[in-house]
């Protein structure tokens, strides 16, 4: 028989129940006297007098057999008990002897759970726990730390993906990048930067921005771009202020190759920053050429225009006899004609460049009639010379825009006439490249010829080998020929000696040329060969 338990610490069994819903109390024979309400719900048949050993086992401290003395001796130590049922519930707490002299032992504890999900498997809810019990708070904290861990993993994954994407972009970028870490030291150099400057991570790792600028400066020859690494403090400060004021600046690198690069800097957190180099060599060159072209074009147009203006002013303000008037008008007419010719050539050039060959009608044509048609249409006023043509019996077909090819050949012939004012033969023949893949239409004169320097500038717009101005021309003809030939897949070649004359060759590729029946053209054997 068990006795009726005395109140503990003045708490009635009902109050004890609410304060410690997982407690139990046994008598000296280890028979249950009372259990908390959650435990009662779990063991509805375990009433007063039920042996403790049929409901619980002690997991810690290790006990072979439940023994009153051993349980009572656990004192202040932690006791872990486990319910004996299909889904065991572990309770963590301590066993206290009741101060009643009855030998009763009181266990006070609460479920030992490590995950919030275990509550559901134990059919426990928030209501089953006393308000003072912090196990729920522990579980909430644990759950929150798991969520934080999951977020951290997600962030790490996102960062890794972004980092890989950025790495690929930097690797493939034609622009140069140098990244500085949070201490302002280089920790990354991309291949484009290395290619532009010849400076790799080995040379730059650990360097500061000023030191990198110093190394870049050393690649430039101008004093302005030279290293500031050894400047005195005041100058360094000045340069730093300049850099802040103008985050983008141009550097003229002389090594490893001559390049114009634009340097900019983007600052991040702390001392982290990215230095960015963009190769603007081509843009700078194009800008320079554009300005030069505009200046030259304006100058070239002004010369005949000034002449027209001056002569018409004379005609307006002064009386002339008929013969003189006619002579003046002839000059005005000639200068106006030169203007129109120059503007036509400029427009042709602009159109060809803008369309980039899209309006070319490339077709397979027989070369002989093309040459003959060009010669038939050629009219050089006041020059009775005939062009000597020596063409082989068999000529391959070529892929050309017939009208453009005729224009190119006409320009070469016109030059041959102009630059051989003392007479001399002008010849056309056809040559073949040694590998048989290209065919050249060669125009030769025995005129004034060109020096090596003149030859080097012959394709520049408005460049005239004759500086005297006695020979008419716009200086655009050879530029046009060059554009036309390149857009037809060929090129133009010039050979010249001062006083010995000039040879100009229009090279046409024979690759892919087919006869009407579709047979590829064979190299014509009786053509002169060129390497």
């Amino acid at each position: 028989m068990t006795h009726t338990p005395e109140p503990v610490a003045g708490l009635s069994p009902r109050q004890l129940d609410r304060a410690f819903p997982f407690h139990w109390r046994v008598d000296a024979d280890l028979r249950l006297l009372q259990m908390g309400e959650v435990l009662r719900r779990r063991f509805p048949h375990a009433g007063s007098g039920t042996p403790l050993s049929s409901v619980f086992r002690v997991a810690r401290p290790r006990m072979e057999k439940l023994d009153h003395a051993a349980l009572g001796a656990t004192g202040e130590g932690i006791v872990l008990v486990e319910t004996l049922c299909a889904s065991p519930l572990r309770l963590r707490g301590q066993i206290l002897p009741c101060d009643t002299g009855s030998g009763d032992l009181l266990f006070i504890g609460s479920p030992w759970l490590t995950r919030l999900a275990e509550l559901e498997s134990q059919s426990l809810t928030l209501q089953d726990f006393a308000a003072h019990d912090s196990i729920m708070d522990f579980l909430f904290v644990h759950q929150a730390s798991q969520a934080a861990l999951e977020d951290t993993r997600l962030l790490a994954r996102t960062l890794k993906e972004r980092s890989q994407r950025l790495d690929t972009i930097f690797q493939l970028s034609p622009d140069g990048f140098v990244a500085f870490d949070e201490f302002g030291k280089v920790d990354y150099v991309n291949p484009a930067f290395q290619h532009m400057t010849g400076l790799d991570l080995g040379a730059l790792a650990g360097k500061t921005e000023a030191q990198v600028d110093g190394l870049l400066g050393a690649l430039c020859d101008t004093p302005a771009a030279a290293s500031n690494a050894n400047d005195d403090t005041a100058r360094r400060r000045e340069r730093r202020a300049e850099r802040r004021a103008a985050p983008r600046r141009m550097l003229q690198l002389m090594r490893p190759r001559r390049r114009t690069v634009q340097r900019s800097l983007r600052r991040g957190e702390g001392k982290a920053k990215v230095l960015y180099l963009r190769d603007v060599t081509r843009e700078t060159e194009v800008d320079r050429m554009k300005s030069e072209f505009l200046t030259t074009a304006a100058h070239e147009l002004r010369t005949p225009m000034a002449s027209v203006y001056g002569f018409t002013e004379l005609l307006l303000n002064r009386p002339f006899d008929d013969a003189t008037r006619k002579d003046v008008l002839r000059t005005v007419h000639r200068q106006a004609g030169a203007l129109i010719h120059m503007l036509n050539e400029l427009l042709d050039l602009a159109r060809i460049e803008a369309r980039a060959g899209k309006d070319f009608h490339i077709e397979t044509r027989a070369l002989r009639p093309l040459i003959q048609e060009t010669l038939a249409a050629l009219l050089i006023p006041g020059d009775e010379r005939k062009v000597r043509v020596s063409l082989p019996d068999i000529l391959p077909d070529v892929n050309v825009d017939a009208a453009k090819f005729r224009q190119a050949l006409t320009n070469l012939l016109s030059n041959a006439y102009k630059y051989s004012p003392q007479g001399g033969d002008i010849e056309i023949d056809v040559i073949s490249r040694q590998d048989g893949r290209a065919l050249g239409v060669r125009v030769s004169d025995r005129g004034i010829g060109m020096t090596a320097e003149q030859l080097g500038r012959a394709f520049e717009r408005f460049y005239r080998a004759d500086a005297s101005g006695n020979l008419p021309g716009t200086g655009l003809g050879l530029s046009l020929v060059k554009e036309i030939m390149e857009l037809m897949g060929g090129h133009v070649e010039l050979h010249s000696q001062p006083g010995a004359g000039t040879q100009a060759i229009l090279w046409l590729s024979l690759r892919g040329v087919r006869r009407k029946g579709g047979t590829p053209v064979e190299t014509t054997p009786n053509l002169m060969e060129q390497p």
């Binding site: 995950r115 809810t125 909430f140 759950q143 962030l155």
Partner: protein
């Protein structure tokens, strides 16, 4: 507002309208955050700006969007590691709502900067209850409607909910009538 709320909003927009829509909303709201950290605290303004921008971009009135978000929030959190919080609160919707303040009290102890709303239940009969909602934040009552609808789905209970009293100056509580219609 804790990051979890913004994260759920992002997830809802992405699942329905795609990642591009969310990026557009963030840009419009001028919110430059890639990943919201669930238990990190963000200014309430961020959430309000995101909801406003989402309303503009998606063409839904803010109230409809908040109600949809409330419902999504319950389902999202229950499926993304926070389901146990719901199960701790009870096995039936009415129990859960009654326990919600206890749950919030525990969570509030752990996250003192979390400004949690208060819910009290006034039981009318077995099938009807009044839910009194009090919050320091304005304009979120439509979200409560969605939250309770979401909880109904979570606990597999059919219900209707109607706001019967609004907050007003001097009256900080909004009240909802919840009619429980039985299991789903």
């Amino acid at each position: 507002m804790y990051g979890l709320v913004n994260k759920a909003l992002a997830q809802m927009v992405v699942s329905i309208h795609g990642a591009h829509a969310w990026e557009t909303i963030k840009t419009r709201a001028d919110v430059d955050v890639d990943v919201f950290v669930s238990m990190d605290s963000y200014p309430d303004e961020v959430t309000y700006k995101l909801v406003g921008a989402a309303s503009d971009v998606l063409g839904d009135p803010p109230e409809a969007l908040l109600e949809a978000f409330g419902e999504y929030w319950t389902l999202y959190t229950s499926q993304s590691g926070y389901g146990d919080y719901f199960r701790v609160g009870g096995t039936r919707l009415a129990d859960f709502l009654a326990n919600l303040d206890h749950l919030h009290a525990r969570v509030g102890l752990i996250y003192p900067s979390m400004c949690l709303p208060s819910f009290t239940v006034e039981k009318l009969d077995d099938d009807n209850l009044l839910l009194h909602y009090r919050s320091e934040r304005d304009g979120l009552a439509p979200m409560v409607v969605g939250l309770v609808k979401g909880l109904g789905k979570l606990f597999k209970e059919r219900l209707t909910i109607e706001q019967v009293a609004s907050r007003s100056p001097g009256k900080p509580t909004a009240t909802f009538h919840v009619h429980l219609e039985g299991p789903l």
